[in-house]
Amino acid sequence: MPVATHLPDAEALCAALADAMRPHVDPARAALVGIHTGGVWVAARLHAALGLKIPPGSIDVSFYRDDFSQRGLHANAKTSQIPFDVEGAHIVIVDDVLHTGRTIRAAMNELFDYGRPARIDLAVLTDRGGRELPIAPTFSPHSLSLPAAQILALERADDGRLSFRLIEK
């Protein structure tokens, strides 16, 4: 099995993503929502880097996944926390890797159960292709192509450093 030796540098991508977003987000009005688990880490970085006023939310899409009838309820579902009023908000959904787009659909469905946002954008560290839904990122500083059998996962070390790892399914 060929192993990709040049995985993107997650730390550099966090900085690049913040740079890409800075001209387009109003620090007083934009609200981040990170998708568990990697997206929550990235959202925390972006929140600090962009100096946003509204505390970041986190979302676990386990209750909105479209594969529930095949795969059942995910173990270790986390509590979604949206600490701001979604009604009329400018929300940026944050995830580590954009793949099929199904997670993003589930996240948007979940957000609408909290209210009607004025606008939703999507920020990801990398776009690995393989889309199965008509979903595109608003901000994505990197892209790569990976076979479907590989999972690109974001990991966080004890010191907080983020890095990518490739997992064979």
């Binding site: 676990d60 209750f63 059942g72 579902a77 986390k78 979940e110 159960d113 909290y114």
Partner: protein
């Protein structure tokens, strides 16, 4: 149990996942913890603008209540509706004679209407088990069964919501002394609580009751028995009161409810013997002035209403886990 073949636990499918919830007895600790962990994110759903998640969209949940219960039926109904299921409530009053037949006939009819889940409350111990067995024997084990209380046997979702409540306030099961007080003899709740507490590693589970309201051999479940309430409450972290089940009493098990209150009613004075931060629980509905004094029921240590709220999240977790397995 022959219909379940070689499966060691009729509640688990061949992958070891929860297929039905019939009793807490025999479920591994990891399974109980997984249910409690899963309930936590469901409790947040009630805080949203839209108090619903789409997990059971298009599924039909039948509440089969062969015995009256407004509260339990309502919380199961709310839980199923917050999972987006279609809920059909059937309150079926039974004659004492042909309960088993009525249950299975009813279930067969509802299965023919494409039921996905049965929530069963029945006066006969073992009725939900019989139903699960029947579904397996007739090749319809894709239909899930949740025991909402059967006779004196078990009330597993009550036991689980009680554990959720204890964990919410006390965090760690391994340091606790818990007292279960009252009519243990007639209580399916007590049995589920005892199995859950011992499985989760609570080092000391006490049972406090008059001898006439204790089943023989209760010590074998791993509990310490006290007939004196004051002695039994000393230093406990959690007081779990039971409802005095007058409707199930046959013969003279008690002198009078006033007499019972004097010896086994939870008053502020008796509660003061427990730890100062002890919590007081009750599965409801309460008999005020019989097993619990209003000053305690409405006091600062009571967590009786949070129990009701947590019960919805726990039932959502159970139904979602079953439906996904």
């Amino acid at each position: 149990m022959s219909a379940f073949g070689k499966q060691p636990n009729p509640q688990l499918n061949s992958h070891g996942e929860l297929q039905h919830l019939l009793t807490i007895e025999g479920l591994p600790r990891e399974m109980l913890l997984r249910i409690l962990d899963t309930a936590a994110p469901f409790s947040e759903v009630a805080e949203r603008e839209v108090k619903k998640v789409p997990l059971l969209r298009g599924k039909s949940v039948f509440n089969l209540f062969f015995e009256n219960s407004t509260r339990t039926r309502t919380t199961f109904e709310i839980a199923a509706k917050r999972l987006s299921a279609d809920v059909i409530n059937l309150n079926i009053s039974t004659s004492s004679a042909n309960k088993g037949e009525t249950l299975l006939d009813t279930a067969d009819n509802l299965a023919a209407m494409q039921a996905d889940m049965f929530v069963v409350r029945h006066a006969s111990s073992g009725a939900p088990h019989l139903l699960a067995q029947h579904l397996a024997a007739t090749g319809r084990d894709h239909i899930h069964v949740v025991n909402a209380g059967d006779g004196r046997h078990a009330h597993p979702t009550q036991g689980l919501l009680d554990m959720y409540t204890i964990r919410h306030y006390k965090t760690d099961f391994s340091q606790l002394t818990v007292a279960i007080v009252g009519d243990v003899l007639h209580s399916r709740v007590a049995r589920s609580q005892i199995h859950a507490l011992t499985t989760l590693g609570v080092p000391e589970v006490r049972v406090i009751a008059p001898k006439t309201l204790l089943p023989t051999g209760i010590e074998r479940l791993g509990v310490r028995v006290f007939n004196d309430m004051r002695e039994g409450l000393r230093g406990v972290d959690v007081v779990m009161m039971l409802r005095l089940q007058n409707e199930r009493m046959q013969g003279a098990l008690l002198p009078s409810t006033q007499e019972y209150f004097k010896s086994y009613g939870l008053t502020p004075e008796k509660l003061s013997l427990a730890k100062p931060d002890a919590i007081v629980m009750h599965p409801g509905p309460m008999n005020r002035g019989v097993e619990i004094d209003s000053a305690v029921a409405d006091g600062g240590q009571a967590v009786i209403l949070p129990q009701v709220t947590f019960g919805i999240a726990v039932r959502m977790a159970v139904m979602a886990m079953l439906a996904g397995n």
